[in-house]
Amino acid sequence: MTGRARLVGVVAAGAGLVLSGGCGGGSGGTAATRASGAATKVTGTVTVLAAASLTEAFTRIGKDFAAANPGTRVTFSFAGSSALAQQIASGAPADVFASASPTNMKQVTDAGLGDGQPIVFARNQLVIAVPRGNPKRIAGLADLARSGVKVALCAEQVPCGAAAKTALAAAGVKLTPVTLEQDVKAALTKVKLGEVDAALVYRTDARTASSDVDGVEFPESAGAVNDYPIVALARAPNPAGAKAFVAHVLSDRGRAVLTGSGFQKP
């Protein structure tokens, strides 16, 4: 009996691990930084919640920002935009939110949790990710519908899946994917491991995986461009830091990093 009880404990603990997996994130700034709201002087920690597809670009921007503002530190929590929006709604102590879709941003601003209007700072569009060397000779969306080509798409519920649906409809291509992945990185992983022959992912994701994956551009992606909005949060523990970070992302230096990662200018 005790053995069984202990096992049930293990099950519960396992479930707890799975459930807590999505919530990363550091603690926010200190109360002291809130008090010193002096105009330009930025100190303390800035906590940024950003879409998973921003991981590489924002990590660099964060380093630049800390270098430009001695005494500051930027901590990131990268996850799916919808998960982040829910964390903010549940009171996560964060300063800045950068979303991969206006829909998730709207959830935050509609709840009155944004400080001012969100600003679109980058755009991303889809490419066809294929294993390096493009063994199936895929040149466009129509090739994905060929028999014997296994395709992974994102689920419609996440931004990359919604964009894929729009692009496929624009091209008039009907295809049956083998899987609808929960986020863009999962779809990309299926290509990297060779389990599928192609996946529709963001150009930036294909670029970060360029050692295993080639990105095939296709014209219909222009009709399914993803806007990335950013906003300082109303309940930011470090409001000065939040505003300064947003300004840094929108600055020429921030834009240069984003373009370097494959994002387009808004």
Binding site: V10, V18, S82, V158, V178, T179, L180
Partner: protein
């Protein structure tokens, strides 16, 4: 039978906290559930597909686990071979492995380019990822250790003398196992099978990583719940409750039939 002793507070207090800890999240689901949307959710075709798929795959994974796990448990409990402790430790690895990692590991072995998968594909034309069979593989991988540990414990606890008596009366080892050992460990086997089934039913990480997510073939209830959470959290709550209700009903039904609570 002695009178039930008064429970000492040192046990009662943590026990009550433990119950609250385990039950409160479920109450949270019940309180926040938008019950009015339940009929609409049930009418969505993918939901019933997912529920059916969940029940079929978790039951199949349990059967696979029994067929492979009971002999394995017997081996671990009753035979001695070099490296037995190591084998036991390895068998329980899926318990501590994050399920998503388990899914990646399965891809590396049974995937199209995996160690075994390449051979399966070239010899038999079988590819497991993105198939219902792949879901069963993922679930069995994660859930079988629960069964093995339960059954091994039961076999260890069983009195060896019954088996020895049967053997002295001329029964073969197979007969002893079938007619003596199995009936003695039946309660442990049942408990292990229930744990295994429940774990398989709730499996998410290994399934979505190894088998993918497609309605009708690999989209089980936990996967549909996760995706609903992306856009429509109230729907996700209702879907979780459907899964919860079905699994509790089945477990209670089984318990009354086969598992005698002491």
């Amino acid at each position: 039978m002695r009178d039930k002793a008064r429970t000492p507070p040192v046990l009662a207090i943590p026990a009550v906290i433990g119950v609250a800890f385990l039950v409160l999240p479920m109450i949270g689901l019940l309180v926040r559930a938008p019950w009015s949307t339940l009929p609409r959710q049930l009418a969505t075709p993918h939901v019933l597909d997912a529920l059916r798929l969940s029940l079929i795959t978790s039951t199949t994974a349990t059967i696979v686990s029994i067929l492979l796990g009971v002999p394995l448990a017997w081996l671990l409990a009753r035979s001695s071979f070099p490296g037995r402790r190591l084998v036991r430790a390895l068998v329980t690895v899926p318990l501590v492995l994050p399920p998503v990692v388990g899914g990646v590991a399965l891809l590396l072995v049974f995937g199209r380019r995996g160690l075994v998968g390449t051979w399966l594909d070239s010899q038999f034309g079988i590819t497991l990822p993105f198939t219902t069979a792949g879901v069963v593989v993922a679930e069995a991988f994660v859930a079988m250790p629960f069964l093995v540990i339960s059954v091994e414990g039961a076999i260890r606890a069983a009195d060896l003398r019954y088996e020895e008596a049967a053997a002295t009366l001329g029964a073969t080892r197979w007969t002893v196992f079938r007619r003596v050992t199995l009936p003695i460990v039946a309660p442990g086997l049942a408990a292990g099978a229930v744990l295994c089934w429940a774990r398989a039913l709730g499996e998410f990480g290994a399934t979505i990583t190894f088998a993918g997510n497609y309605p009708g073939t690999t989209q089980t209830m936990p996967l549909i719940v996760y995706l609903a959470l992306e856009t429509d959290p109230p729907a996700a709550i209702v879907l979780s409750l459907i899964l919860l209700a079905v699994s509790v009903t089945i477990l209670v039904g089984l318990r009354e039939r086969w598992i005698s609570a002491p």
